[in-house]
């Protein structure tokens, strides 16, 4: 028996696949790129959704992981291109699977470190501290000139994936789509698992979790690091999409946008990030086409959503969230 949310999810997933394929068939690569952007932003937000939606951890610093993933891709590709050794004689790589692994590892480890300190606090402290740590990474990227500093770093040739011509927009889209669906499947599994139970319970009632003998801190720290790793993976793909990495990927606007994506779509929902990312990119494209001041109206829409439509897009489509 399919409920409304499942139907909405399937339709969204099908649309995200069908629109760029159709656009490609009609020779409109621009829309393929737009759809790729949706998929990557959705992936980044899906990572955050693990911490924020399931764990209730309002991280205002996920841009740090997004950017670190991006820089991992950029730096590895730069070294692979120039042949200069990066670490222990390794000259980087232009193979996406390796890059993804490194991006997830770096973002996950930094997430672990940031979480280690930030998760000692909660509420508004947590929001501000994650924000501040992300700014730290941002300022470091700006003031460290080796990889472009403020100007960013170009990836001259898009990185490669075995057996695929990544330079074709539709091929690269399919890679990103595949990664996104894998990540969403992972999200489903985790949400239903013992770990997911403990994480969601810790959001609802921390004392209850401790009282049955589960330490919320360790659960949250794990969730935060995994969440960081997924967002880092999205960052690596984003760098390959634009063939460019800059500190703006690390900026606090980015962190804000990732939260916005989740809220626009519907907090804690499996497809919330995808719905939100699609909505966001469409707003950006449609509003941006109508007026130079589209950010003003984006703010207005966001404000309206927060004040009056808290369920987000999926809340409107699928009704109230259900919990087992």
């Amino acid at each position: 028996m399919l409920n409304r949310e499942t139907i909405a999810n399937l339709v969204l997933a099908a649309l995200l696949l069908a629109v760029p394929l159709a656009a490609n068939a009609f020779g409109q690569p621009f829309y393929v790129t737009l759809a790729t952007r949706v998929a990557i932003l959705a992936l980044a937000a899906a990572g955050l959704n693990l911490a924020l939606g399931l764990g209730g951890l309002v991280s205002f610093g996920h841009a740090a992981f997004f950017g670190l993933g991006g820089y991992a891709a950029g730096i590895l590709a730069t070294h692979a291109f120039s042949g200069d050794p990066l670490l222990f004689g390794w000259t980087g790589t232009n193979q996406m699977p390796v890059i993804w692994l490194v991006a997830m590892l770096v973002a996950g480890l930094v997430g672990l470190f940031i979480g280690l300190i930030s998760l000692r606090t909660s509420g508004v402290y947590f929001i501000m501290i994650t924000l501040a740590f992300a700014q730290m990474v941002y300022y470091f990227a700006i003031s460290w000139p080796a990889y472009g500093g403020e100007d960013g770093l170009s990836i001259l040739v898009r990185n490669q994936f075995p057996g695929v011509n990544t330079m074709k927009p539709v091929s690269f889209f399919l890679i990103c789509y595949g990664v996104l669906i894998t990540a969403l499947a992972f999200f489903v599994l985790v949400r239903a698992s013992r770990f997911g139970s403990a994480l969601q319970a810790a959001r609802q009632n921390e004392v209850r979790v401790a009282t049955v003998g589960i330490a919320p801190y360790r659960i949250r720290l794990t969730a935060f690091a995994v969440s960081a790793a997924i967002t880092g993976l999205a960052g690596a793909l984003f760098a390959d999409l634009n063939r460019f990495v800059s500190p703006s990927m690390l900026s606090w606007h980015m962190s804000g946008e990732l939260i916005v994506l989740i809220i626009l779509g519907g907090t804690g929902r499996l497809f919330g990030p995808l719905a939100g990312a699609a909505l966001f990119v469409v707003f950006e494209y449609v509003l941006g086409g109508l007026t130079e001041r589209w950010q003003f109206f984006l703010g207005l829409i966001l404000l309206g959503t927060v004040l009056f439509a808290r369920g987000g897009l999926l809340g409107l489509l699928a009704g109230k969230a259900r919990h087992g």
Partner: protein
């Protein structure tokens, strides 16, 4: 390194600290009394700077501009509180963050709409131009000293306001017991609007004063906002005393770090390298300091009673 140079940097640090205090005081007050996290505080700073620059350009008087900045920021604060913020007090922090993030987008784009994309410039008033000699021979701008003095004055004023007046008593009551002051018949909605406008005015004042040191442009409030967050996290959210000490600490450590770290590194590595590494390290210094303080005291140096 000369003593005069070090003294100059120390004063610069103090000046930064004072600015941060003006921002942080409003943030921490708004959080302490209303339990609200306001990302749009940096926008009010920007409003103050633009109001001051626009009025000063039109009238030729910095001082009229300063008055305008206070009035505009306070008015913007009051309007925003009435229209948006008061719907957020009962919401969780996530909703507050998002709604005030939306306000930033609207303020930034709205300002660009009104004033265009080019930065405005604000001249230092004639009275405060020039420099004074510091011990050791260096010259230090009078205007920066005036900012430090103004900040000290505001800090003292806030101390009097909160410690000695009726309004201050209500603010303190609001911090410790929200239900109680409602029960005592204080009009809590008006109190909240007043507190929000007061915080906004302080931010606007900071923006106006800094506007004469750098260009007045959209987005200028955001770096300051984030530093102000660091300040109140270090000081303890809700504590004015914590905001003051945190602000001075962050101001001085940040400025002195940028000044000293490259020089210290130059003792060990070639100068070009030292500038590079030192600069990068200095930009991270206050965040490292914050991490260390929080690792030891998760609720900051002066934790408020609740929150």
């Amino acid at each position: 390194m000369t003593l005069a140079l070090a003294l100059e940097q120390l004063l610069n640090g103090l000046q930064l600290g004072v600015m941060l205090f003006l921002m942080a005081a409003g943030l921490t007050l708004i959080f302490g009394v209303m339990g609200l996290i306001n990302l749009a505080h940096g926008s009010l700073y920007m409003v103050g700077a633009f109001a001051c620059a626009a009025v000063a350009a039109a009238t030729g008087s910095f001082w009229l501009g300063l008055v305008a900045s206070l009035a505009c920021a306070a008015a913007a604060g009051a309007i925003v509180e009435l229209l948006v913020i008061r719907r957020l007090y009962d919401r969780d922090h996530l909703d507050q963050v998002l709604a005030t993030f939306a306000l930033i987008l609207m303020f930034s784009e709205g300002t660009r709409w009104l004033f265009g994309s080019f930065p405005l410039y604000l001249d230092i008033p004639p009275l405060l131009q020039g420099a004074v000699a510091l011990p050791g021979g260096a010259q230090y701008p009078v205007y920066r000293l005036a900012i430090i003095a103004a900040g000290a004055l505001v800090a003292f004023g806030l101390y009097l306001l909160i410690g000695k007046t009726r309004l201050g008593m209500r603010i303190r009551a609001g911090e410790s017991d929200r239900e109680m002051i409602g029960a005592l018949g204080v009009d809590i909605r008006t109190l909240y609007t007043v507190v929000f406008a007061l915080g906004a005015a302080l931010a606007g004042l900071a923006g106006a004063m800094v506007g004469a040191l750098q260009s007045v442009q959209v987005g200028m409030g955001e770096p300051v906002l984030i530093l102000a967050f660091v300040v109140i996290v270090i000081g303890g959210i809700g504590s004015i005393k914590g905001a003051l000490l945190g602000a001075l600490l962050v101001g001085v450590v940040d400025t002195m770090g940028r000044f000293l770290l490259p020089q210290m590194l130059a003792l060990f590595v070639p100068p070009s390298q030292a500038g590079l590494i030192g600069g990068a390290a200095a930009s991270m210094l206050i965040y490292v300091m914050m991490a260390i303080i929080l690792a030891m005291k998760p609720r900051g140096l002066f934790p408020a009673a609740h929150a």
